[in-house]
């Protein structure tokens, strides 16, 4: 009960924040919510199942381009384009998983990284369709859902919040289910799981596909809400970001991905403001973020919520 109440309270607090914040910070919060969905998906694979992927940019980009291209060329509206993005994320994750899950650990990292780089190069290669480095703006007509224009503030915030809420509650239900227990068993002791009648390959593949569905949803939503699709979503940066969010907030906690995304955005905001005040810090924002992450890994390797859970809040999911 306490657990569901906590998650609902977070969703309500976010709704209030979106309603009362001025447009610019509210738009930033909407971005954070969409990227938090991506990070929640990453967390299902990495935080719960123990699959350290460096290729999630590929699943995100699958969502971005499935939604973006179908809007661009087929004139799909936001609803179907989003569904197509979700499906694309899941399908690409399934295809990658079938091959990459034959490996584990460091090899898995490298194989997923290779797939993602191949995906990035593919996007560039078909630049005439995908817009290559420059990307393309989505047609305004496609950015509507149920008659609401997603390029205006209120529908955009509501859509971001709904997507986040569905993602959060679904991941909570998932990790508290029997399947969630099997996912954690992969992370903790795969060999023992096998001898309990669990098929590790099937569990890991399913977890990766779920993770891909989240990434696809986030990618499609990002394209539709902010009106842009481009190759930058397929770069390694977008494989690293969800990992950082998850590590910062707490791997294997349901709210950690959101908290990590929020704090990382905040950290970037603070450092860039400091750079404006003290020009000597110009261009050092990434250095400061790096320093903050080193401190985190040294003193709270389980992330913020992971550390809180260790220090007494054992009920945190």
């Amino acid at each position: 009960m306490k657990v569901w109440a906590l998650h609902l309270a977070l969703i309500i607090a976010l709704a209030v924040a979106l309603a009362v914040l001025p447009p610019y910070p509210a738009t930033t919060l909407a971005r954070i919510l969409v990227l938090a969905v991506f990070a929640m998906g990453y967390n299902l694979a990495f935080g719960y199942t123990g699959l350290l992927s460096l290729g999630h940019a590929l699943f995100l980009a699958a969502g971005v381009f499935a939604a973006g291209l179908s809007a661009q060329f087929w004139g799909l509206s936001a609803g179907p384009a989003l569904l197509l993005g979700v499906a694309a994320g899941g399908l690409v994750a399934a295809a990658v998983g079938l091959l990459a899950l034959r490996t584990a650990g460091v090899s898995f990292m490298i194989v997923t990284l290779m797939f993602a780089q191949a995906g990035y190069l593919t996007v560039l290669y078909f630049g005439t369709i995908t817009g290559g480095d420059e990307g393309f703006n989505l047609p305004a007509a496609s950015r509507t859902v149920f008659g609401f224009d997603l390029s205006t503030d209120t529908p955009r915030f509501v859509a971001a919040l709904v997507l986040f809420a569905v993602g959060l509650l679904a991941s909570l239900a998932l990790v508290r289910s029997s399947f969630g227990r099997s996912m954690v068993a992969m992370r903790e002791n795969e060999e023992r799981s096998r001898m309990l009648g669990i098929n590790p390959f099937a569990v890991k593949l399913a977890a990766l596909v779920l993770s891909g569905l989240y990434a696809g949803a986030a990618g499609a939503a990002y394209a539709l809400l902010f009106g842009y699709a481009g190759a930058n979503f397929a770069t390694i940066q977008y494989s690293i970001l969800p990992m950082l969010y998850v590590l910062l907030g707490g791997a294997g906690t349901t709210i950690g991905p959101f908290l990590g995304a929020l704090l990382m955005f905040g950290l970037i905001e603070v450092t860039s403001r400091m750079a404006r005040l003290w020009p000597v810090l110009e261009g050092m924002d990434y250095f400061l973020i790096g320093a903050a992450l080193v401190v985190l890994v040294l003193f709270a390797p389980r992330g913020i919520l992971g550390t809180l859970r260790e220090r007494g809040l054992k009920w945190l999911p």
Binding site: S178, R181, S182, V184, A185, E188, N189, E191, R192, S193, R194, M195, L196, G197, I198, N199, P200
Partner: protein, 234 residues
């Protein structure tokens, strides 16, 4: 008695080491069968072949007459072959409840909580459900390992040195527990504690250098001169 498990000419060599070397073995349904032999005789490797953790180079394994030689381990578990590890292998950071629930849910999730508690009650780990498994004492971790095996409702339960590291009082409880399992469950036991073997085993097979040296009742094994020379050191 019907054979639950039969192996024919089962072989696994590691380079020059003949860990399991042409073993013909029969396990009858409902018995407590002890597998003994000196260190390095191939006991653990042999049961790894039965459970599917390793695949043999040649030979066959039959479960109730069905060839399972190449069947993946997790499917053998679902056919009723459960294996408990020699070196305790639990999920240290999960709760005691979750450890056993993982076993229960792999054979269908109906009545998950009740079945989990029943398996824990059977080994006497009541009231520790919410505790993290790594905080249990070693003896309790061995019992948890056993509860995970029992929760699979196996037809064959393979116990690899289950009494290792247990106190004398815990061993008495363990013997009673194992004897309460048969004949519904057949037990194959690797055990170094000869008192335990002689007390509860209905049949004994002696392995030496990967081969079957002798097989028979405890009395016959005790009286066997080859066994005495190789192992019992009488």
């Amino acid at each position: 008695m019907a054979a639950l498990i039969e192996t024919r000419d089962l072989t696994l060599h590691f380079g020059g080491l003949r860990a399991v070397d042409g073993v013909d073995f029969t396990l009858n349904a409902g018995e407590i069968h002890a597998l003994i032999g000196p260190n390095g005789a191939g006991k653990t490797t042999f049961v790894s072949l039965l459970s599917g953790r390793r695949l043999p180079q040649s030979g066959a394994i039959l479960l109730n007459g069905e060839d399972i030689t190449r069947l993946p381990a997790h499917l053998r578990v679902r056919k009723g072959i459960a294996y408990t590890f020699q070196i305790t292998s639990i999920f240290p950071r999960l709760s005691v409840f979750d450890n056993v629930a993982l076993a229960v849910q792999s054979c269908g999730a109906k009545g998950l909580a009740a079945q989990t508690r029943a398996a824990l009650a059977r080994v006497g780990l009541v009231g520790l459900e919410e505790q993290e498994a790594q905080t249990l004492s070693y003896g309790h971790q061995r019992l948890l390992e056993l509860a995970m095996g029992l929760a699979l409702k196996p037809r064959l339960l393979i116990l690899d040195e289950p009494t290792q590291g247990l106190a004398a009082s815990e061993i008495e409880g363990f013997k009673a527990l194992v004897q309460s399992l048969v004949p519904e469950t057949t037990v194959l036991l690797i055990e170094h504690n000869m008192d335990v073997v002689m007390d509860i085993a209905t049949r004994i097979t002696v392995l030496n250098f990967g081969q079957v040296l002798a097989s028979g009742t405890p009395e016959a094994i005790r009286a066997n001169p080859a066994v005495q020379e190789a192992y019992l050191g009488a």
